[in-house]
């Protein structure tokens, strides 16, 4: 068996077939479903680490490609960047699965939920593995399809409304991406992510078209990456169950968009060529605007999940911002933030889900004094908040540090101002929550929705512990070669943009 070929395929199938089988399970067969889900996700985690070992230590190239007969190949290819995204998505799939099992206990339509959940992970795995823009597009559209049922899972009028909004945005984005991908293909033929430079070789007469294509591609991806003004779906989609929001914000949808922008800038156009075309300046401005706008909107939200959603709008754009500056450190900052934002944001959503599920708290006002009632959750929430703000030694600090260094190095000092303002705004909308959790008195009796031995069911407590632990360790041990930062450096080095 040739592992270089089969490992990527196995990686996709581990969640794809899990999902398909789960659809056909009876609603009542909880144990079987959970076992299958866990088996699939544990297998995937092992496979990713095995693959990482083979790639990083043994230097094996994993590649799958077969012809679709359309002038392009379906290519799955593992490079460092895909590995990083894979590691993120597979690990977070595992913890989110555990969390969802606890969260959805006893609620209806679980087979449907877990089926689409696994398919959603398949899609983000495919996005990570895609070796050219067309394969990326295939999985990107697949992701749209399979996340819709998760958004409308609650089946309320509000959820259906949100689903409709979500679809309009994402399908429109998909159509734009389609146009951009086909146009690029007409001009250059199929472009694998490894052949950067092909666009540079084109003559001057193509430059205008290339600029338009870049714009179309970024707009198409920007819908999922929630670049303002294409972010409208994200706060609305908050009606979904907490684990869905967690996954959507941390790895699946939003990250797919951000990851796509990274791919387009680094691996399709090539960052220097994109800079030469004058495309990165506007991109940086758009990202900065999104960062500030998202934070400002977050300030005025009173619903906890809504505030987290606007915070995502703002935080994910750090990735775009980092890609848009021509500097060594910016690239590293952008790539590392892909992971850091994921683990911190998923913790926040897990905690928000815990508050909602055990005490029925949705509004920020209701969180007063919750630190006494649910200390563990509140501690994890607080840690993640500090990470988001960028306090050392949390993971978020590392990202911001590198982004700031990159801004200075790239000669765009104004970005530093954006980063500082954004951090201030982050504090302004996060710290009051922390303050009222710990230092204010509860406004009344807690009404317990779900009783358990600890402050919340164990399955809801363990997953955020993992992720917040990861966020702390990613910051503490950032210097290690195996930390996200170490990997991000290697990636940037492999791309030839890090010395």
């Amino acid at each position: 068996m040739n592992l270089n070929f089969w490992l990527p395929i196995l990686m996709l199938s581990s969640s794809f077939f899990t999902g398909l089988i789960i659809f056909f399970l009876k609603e009542e067969s909880t144990a079987l479903r959970t076992t299958l889900n866990l088996a699939g996700s544990i297998f995937k985690v092992f496979a990713v680490h095995f693959m990482a070992y083979r790639l990083l230590v043994l230097d094996n190239i994993h590649q799958v490609s077969f012809s679709m007969g359309l002038g392009f190949d379906f290519v799955l290819r593992v490079d460092f960047l895909s590995l990083m995204f894979l590691a993120l998505s597979s690990n977070l799939w595992l913890v989110t699965t555990i969390y969802s099992v606890g969260y959805l206990e006893g609620s209806p339509n679980r087979s449907r939920f877990f089926g689409f959940f696994s398919l959603c992970v398949t899609a983000s795995t495919g996005i990570a593995l895609a070796g050219n823009l067309i394969t990326f597009f295939i999985f990107y559209e697949f992701l749209t399809l399979v996340t819709y049922p998760l958004v409308v899972h609650r089946e309320t009028r509000e959820a259906l409304e949100a689903g409709r909004t979500y679809l309009w945005y994402t399908i429109l984005g998909g159509a734009l991406l389609f146009l951009g991908v086909v146009w690029l293909q007409v001009i250059t033929g199929p472009l694998d992510f490894v052949d950067t430079g092909a666009l540079e070789a084109l003559g001057r007469e193509y430059h205008v078209s290339l600029c338009i294509i870049f714009l179309i591609l970024v707009m198409g991806l920007g819908v999922k990456a929630a670049l303002v003004p294409l972010h409208g779906w994200l706060p609305v989609a908050m009606v979904a169950p907490a684990p869905v929001s967690a996954l959507l914000h941390a790895v699946a949808v939003v990250k797919a968009g951000a990851f796509g922008i990274v791919r387009v800038v680094f691996d399709v156009f090539g960052r220097d060529f994109a800079g030469f075309l004058g495309l990165l300046g506007p991109l940086a401005v758009a990202a900065s605007f999104t960062i500030i706008f998202g934070s400002l909107r977050a300030l005025s939200q009173t619903d906890l999940k809504k505030r987290l959603a606007y915070s995502t709008v703002s935080q994910v754009s750090y990735i775009t911002l980092g890609t848009a500056v021509i500097a060594y450190f910016s690239a590293v900052g952008a790539i590392v933030h892909l992971v850091h934002q994921g683990i911190m944001k998923i913790t926040l959503f897990f905690c928000a889900g815990n508050f909602a599920e055990t005490l029925g708290l949705h509004n920020i006002r209701d969180l007063r004094g919750v630190g006494r009632r649910m200390p563990l959750t509140a501690i994890m929430f607080t840690l993640a908040v500090f990470g988001m703000i960028g306090t050392p030694p949390m993971a978020g600090f590392i990202s911001k540090w590198y982004l700031g260094l990159g801004a200075l190095e790239g000669g765009s000092a104004w970005i530093l101002v954006i980063l500082v303002v954004s951090s201030l705004l982050n504090s302004a909308y996060f710290l009051p929550i922390v303050y009222s959790m710990w230092f204010e008195l509860p406004s009344g009796q807690w009404k317990t929705i779900r009783t358990s031995r600890f402050e919340a069911p164990l399955m809801l407590l363990v997953p955020p512990m993992f992720t917040v632990g990861a966020a702390v360790f990613a910051g503490l041990f950032a210097g290690s070669n195996w930390s996200p930062l170490g990997l991000a450096r290697q990636i940037a080095f492999g791309m030839g943009i890090y010395p």
């Binding site: 007969g69 399809l145 259906l160 689903g163 159509a175 007409v186």
Partner: protein, 504 residues
């Protein structure tokens, strides 16, 4: 003219002849036999036609296109048959859809009150199948007229099958329209014969000039076939006719019959009038109508509230894509992109045929389970009819043109050739059309995510019916992975010459 290796034979009869003979014989037998035997005969004929189509496809795939002469008489006396990559693709499409629809119908009509329908259904359907097969083999324009009449009459009779007053009105309208179309076509045949003294498509093609008589003939034939293919603004007959018919009939009408007239239109434009007469203005006009059809049909589909009407209006939109072929072929300088456009449209025809048949069969399941095809009856079906829901979703994905379905391959190639030809205005069709399609597909699907506690859904649907619809939907997805073979068949030396370019 390329003449391939001798075809497989059974005694004196060749496989292509069998493909015409079996359905007609089956139709007569079905007419004579009582119920159980009738159903068996129908299924047996379907199986035989399918296997022979498969055999013929393989032999065309290996040996290339060929011409045959019925009874050994050559033209101008005999009846010629031509089989190339294009005809074999349509034969195969008809065989796959036909077989699954036949299997579906065997269960669909089993309820006692529908016995009276089945008695007419089987003979008419096999008759129609035979006529369609003949249509795809036809090589002279007069026979084209004859088989087109056969198709039209049997299709109109099938549309009237359910016998309700709505369906009778719809079928009568359809019948009158198809008759008018046939008359116009016949007139065109007369003009051509008067001018050239020939009927064989290829021979006419070699001598056709751009004179007024030929231009008139082309115009008449084009209008006739456009009416039958339900291109905007001649689409008005389609939604009632397809929407009121029983499910398997709708599947046949939408999936196959409108493809028959489109096929003939391709023959007329690219074989009979291959290097003369056709002007770019006419091609652009047809393309414009196609573009409007895509948008108008999809928009109409969005505002419907009955499942079958949504699917029927969707056909108008999806058929619109096919007509983008004309401006792309006649206004693109680069032959490579012509081939691309050509392949795209054939692919669209095939994947639409499969997906649309699947959708109508799934709608039939829904009606059988809940008694109505109002969209609200879709609630709760995900639990009760998971396969039917899945079918709707898969076929919807193919219609929307999302990867990796057949519809995606079609839209991909279409958009590529549009961009390469520089005719930007046409790009609105795949982009905007895709969005509108997504809107109505999700209008259907989102209902299935709603649980309605007040209403308990539905009766049971037989295993066979659910699975045959699902298979069709699966094929419409899977064909996206086998694009290579289809492209190969279409690139075979065919009896087509595209003006200013290589034969595609």
């Amino acid at each position: 003219m390329p003449v391939g290796a001798p075809p497989e034979r059974y005694g004196n009869i060749t496989v292509p002849e069998l493909l015409i003979l079996i359905p007609f014989t089956g139709a007569i037998l079905c007419f004579l036999f009582p119920e159980v035997l009738r159903r068996l005969t129908g299924l047996l004929s379907a199986a035989l036609i399918f296997s022979n189509s498969a055999i013929l496809t393989r032999s065309i795939f290996q040996d290339g296109a060929r011409r045959l002469h019925l009874g050994g008489w050559t033209e101008p006396l005999g009846i010629g048959m031509s089989i190339d990559g294009l005809s074999i693709l349509f034969i195969l499409l008809t065989a796959v859809v036909g077989l699954l629809v036949s299997i579906y119908s065997a269960s669909f009509f089993s309820a006692a009150q529908e016995q009276v329908l089945a008695r007419h259904f089987w003979p008419l359907w096999l008759f129609l199948w035979g006529a369609l097969n003949s249509l795809f083999f036809v090589s002279d324009i007069f026979n084209a007229y004859v088989v087109m009449e056969l198709v039209g009459i049997s299709a109109a009779a099938l549309a009237a099958l359910s016998g309700t007053s709505a369906s009778l009105t719809a079928a009568l309208r359809y019948f009158l329209l198809t008759m008018a179309g046939s008359m116009a076509f016949l007139l065109g045949v007369g003009f051509i014969y008067a001018r050239t003294g020939l009927l064989d498509m290829y021979l006419v093609g070699t001598v056709a000039d751009g004179g007024p008589l030929m231009a008139m003939a082309l115009g008449l034939m084009t209008v006739a076939l456009i009416m039958k293919t339900a291109l905007f603004p001649f689409h008005f007959w389609l939604p009632p006719a397809h929407g009121e018919a029983p499910a398997p009939v709708s599947a046949i009408l939408s999936g196959l019959v409108i493809k028959g007239s489109f096929y003939l239109l391709l023959r007329i434009w690219f074989t009979v009038f291959q290097n003369s007469t056709v002007t770019t203005h006419a091609a652009a006009l047809i393309g414009l109508l196609g573009l409007i059809a895509v948008i108008w049909g999809s928009y109409q589909a969005i505002i419907q509230t009955r499942l079958k009407l949504i699917i029927a209006y969707s056909s108008i939109g999806q058929v619109g894509y096919l007509f983008l072929l004309f401006p792309l072929i006649f206004m693109t300088p680069d032959p490579a992109w012509k081939t691309e456009a050509w392949t795209a449209c054939i692919f669209q025809a095939i994947s639409h045929g499969l997906a649309k048949a699947a959708l109508f069969l799934a709608a039939g399941n829904l009606i059988q389970a809940s008694g109505t095809d109002d969209l609200r009856s879709m609630r709760n079906i995900a639990d009760k009819l998971p396969m039917t829901t899945f079918t709707l979703a898969l076929a919807g994905v193919s219609l929307m043109g999302l990867p990796p379905s057949g519809g995606f391959v079609a839209k991909w190639m279409l958009l590529q050739s549009i961009l390469a030809s520089g005719q930007w205005w046409l790009a609105a069709a795949p982009i905007l059309g895709g969005l509108l399609t997504a809107a109505y597909v999700f209008k259907i699907l989102s209902q299935s995510f709603v649980s309605d506690d007040k209403k308990s859904c539905c009766g049971n649907v037989s295993f066979v019916m659910e699975k045959s619809a699902l298979l069709l939907a699966l094929f419409s997805i899977l064909i996206g992975f086998r694009a290579n073979e289809v492209i190969f068949l279409l690139s075979e030396p065919v009896f087509f010459i595209i003006p200013g370019g290589q034969s595609p």
